[in-house]
């Protein structure tokens, strides 16, 4: 759709910036409806990239394609290439379960398991073969601290996670995702179901996580994108219209449509 992206990717490469994940001409079909019309984007490592756009613009669909969560939706077809560490992961030969350990996801609705706080974090690790109790304890403490939840739950690690508030539950889900030590964290409107205070806490968490993780976040909240992200991609009707440093998107957009959207004229 736009040449900006290609230039941008070339620039990224020239500057020697490391790319965490990229897509090349990605199309997503829901049955006979094409939701994404060939999107090519590259995301820099250890940065927060925001995907913005109106409802139905395809940003969530795109995000969910990156770790192939759309595989589970009946009738969905994803065509094109998704490169992760030089490997096209949109292929039948890829072990999706292994891949998802490297590309984690946090969802819109906090979805802790009906288990204890401790088990929420350690469950998947145990399934993947980690049995060392001390190591698990250590991971629980570390990830809960990273998710800014440790102080609130350290005395009730073995009580049910379902008793947590929405904001706490979402931070537990973030802790659970980073416990897998993924490279990339995909976040699908992680704060949209939360109150302002919890939103603040989740945003702080994300900014802290940037040192160690590449974060791609879908958000409806312009201020949120402006506050925390380094890069922003503007989605419209299944295409990316503009992708640039966040500052440029919000202050000097190249396209009028982008300007209209970020200044709240539609969407």
């Amino acid at each position: 759709m736009i040449t900006d992206t290609e230039t941008y990717i070339r620039d990224l490469n020239k500057e020697g910036n490391e790319i965490a994940i990229s897509t090349d001409d990605l199309h997503v079909w829901y049955g006979s409806h094409e939701a994404i019309h060939g999107v090519s984007l590259a995301f820099e490592r250890f940065k927060i990239s925001a995907l913005i756009g109106a409802s139905g613009s395809g940003k969530s669909t795109y995000l969910r394609s990156l770790n192939r969560m759309n595989d589970n939706i009946y009738g969905t077809k994803v065509l094109g290439k998704i490169y992760y560490r030089g490997l096209n992961i949109n292929s039948d030969k890829i072990d999706v379960y292994e891949m998802r350990k490297h590309i984690g996801m946090v969802f819109q609705q906090p979805n802790p398991f009906a288990k204890s706080i401790y088990d929420n974090i350690t469950f998947a690790l145990k399934q993947h073969g980690e049995r060392n109790k001390e190591k698990l304890d250590e991971i629980v403490e570390k990830t809960l601290k990273q998710a800014a939840l440790w102080d609130q739950v350290k005395d009730k690690l073995h009580t049910s996670a379902l008793a947590l508030s929405g904001g706490q539950a979402q931070r537990l889900c973030i802790a659970r995702a980073i416990a897998m030590q993924p490279d990339i964290l995909l976040m699908d409107e992680p704060a949209s179901a939360l109150d302002p205070v919890s939103t603040q806490a989740v945003e702080d968490t994300m900014v802290q996580l940037k040192d160690k993780y590449t974060i791609i976040i879908v958000t409806h909240n312009m201020q949120q994108a402006a506050r925390i992200s380094d890069y922003t991609a503007f989605f419209h009707q299944g295409d990316v219209y503009e992708y640039d440093r966040t500052k440029n998107i919000f202050l000097h957009p190249h396209i009028k449509l982008t300007d209209d959207y970020v200044s709240g004229h539609f969407g």
């Binding site: 770790n67 969560m69 589970n72 009946y74 379960y97 292994e98 891949m99 998802r100 350990k101 984690g104 996801m105 969802f107 609705q109 979805n111 802790p112 398991f113 009906a114 288990k115 469950f123 998947a124 399934q127 993947h128 009580t159 049910s160 379902l162 008793a163 889900c173 659970r176 995702a177 897998m180």
Partner: protein, 304 residues
């Protein structure tokens, strides 16, 4: 203005009337149930004694007990659940988690619905032809358990499927996003989350199975031969554990005593046995509630 006012009054009136009608209907149902329970308990309880609960039934004389029948009912229930719980879990999980939305799945669902509305006497006669005659199992606990499996499978399968469906799809996504496989997600996340509902449904189904008579008359049989509680050889017909022995259950005993019983105290025996049956079924219900609350509390830390 006047018109509008009167209309509001009318709506309020209808609203209040509807509330009262539903209230009366609800009370009526509770009253009928309470009357039934009280009648059965009041007529039955005086006949219940230790001797009655453990004694052997008598063919012609008064003063017989229901010991063997009571044991048979519980043992048959255990056998039935041993067969039907694993099958219904498998079928329910498949229907809820794996089955594609196509004609085959629809056909299977319709079949299960039809199966669940089969009259139990038809299930009994079918069991008689297939298990008792064709498979040559004779009148036996095993024939009865298989017939009851046919009777309870649709109930249990639907219960498992519904329980799994109440688990939000975000739970499955959460598991998959952590790199868990589908089967790991289903067995270790979805099924445990649905456990309170699954357990409740199973115990309630157990209550239905426990009180079933028609499906057993021609399968588990109408006789309760003496059994030895010290004989642990399950292949010996006199062993209490043998699934190959004929076994009249409590519900069948009630039917038998009333329809073709020769004992002079038939009415008191059947009243006592009915009370025992009702108490057992009530116990199942209370246990179901208690267990599901406990599991829910354990999982959520919240009292429901």
């Amino acid at each position: 203005m006047n018109y509008k006012y009167s209309k509001t009054r009318r709506t309020q009136l209808i609203d209040r009337l509807a509330y009262k009608v539903f209230y009366v209907i609800a009370i009526l149902i509770v009253l009928i149930l309470a009357a039934l329970l009280i009648y059965i308990l009041v007529t039955g309880l005086p006949h219940i004694s230790w001797h009655f609960l453990t004694g052997k039934s008598k063919p012609f004389q008064a003063g017989g007990g229901i010991g063997i029948q009571l044991f048979n009912s519980f043992y048959l229930l255990i056998l039935t659940m041993l067969i039907s719980v694993p099958i219904s879990l498998g079928a329910g999980i498949w229907l809820s988690e794996y089955a594609k939305k196509n004609r085959l799945t629809n056909l299977i669902r319709t079949t299960i619905e039809i199966l669940s509305s089969l009259p139990s006497v038809v299930v009994g006669l079918f069991g008689f032809i297939l298990f008792v005659l064709q498979f040559n199992l004779g009148f036996s606990l095993l024939s009865g358990a298989l017939a009851l499996t046919i009777f309870s499978l649709p109930l249990l399968t639907t219960n498992v499927e519904n329980a799994l469906q109440t688990v939000h799809f975000t739970q499955r996504e959460a598991g998959l996003a952590l790199g868990l496989s589908r089967i790991e997600t289903v067995l270790k996340i979805v099924v445990p989350a649905a456990l309170p509902n699954i357990v409740t449904g199973m115990i309630l189904a157990a209550g239905r199975v426990f009180g079933e008579a028609a499906a057993l008359i021609y399968t588990a049989g109408q006789s309760a031969p003496a059994i030895s509680f010290s004989n642990w050889n399950i292949f010996d017909l006199s062993s209490f554990l043998s699934p190959f022995r004929p076994a009249e259950t409590l519900a069948v005993h009630i039917w038998k005593v009333n329809s073709e019983g020769l004992i002079p105290d038939a009415s008191s025996v059947s009243a006592g046995a009915s009370a025992v049956l009702i108490i057992a079924v009530l116990l199942f219900n209370f246990i179901a509630r208690y267990l599901s609350n406990r599991i829910y509390q354990h999982m959520t830390g919240v009292k429901s």
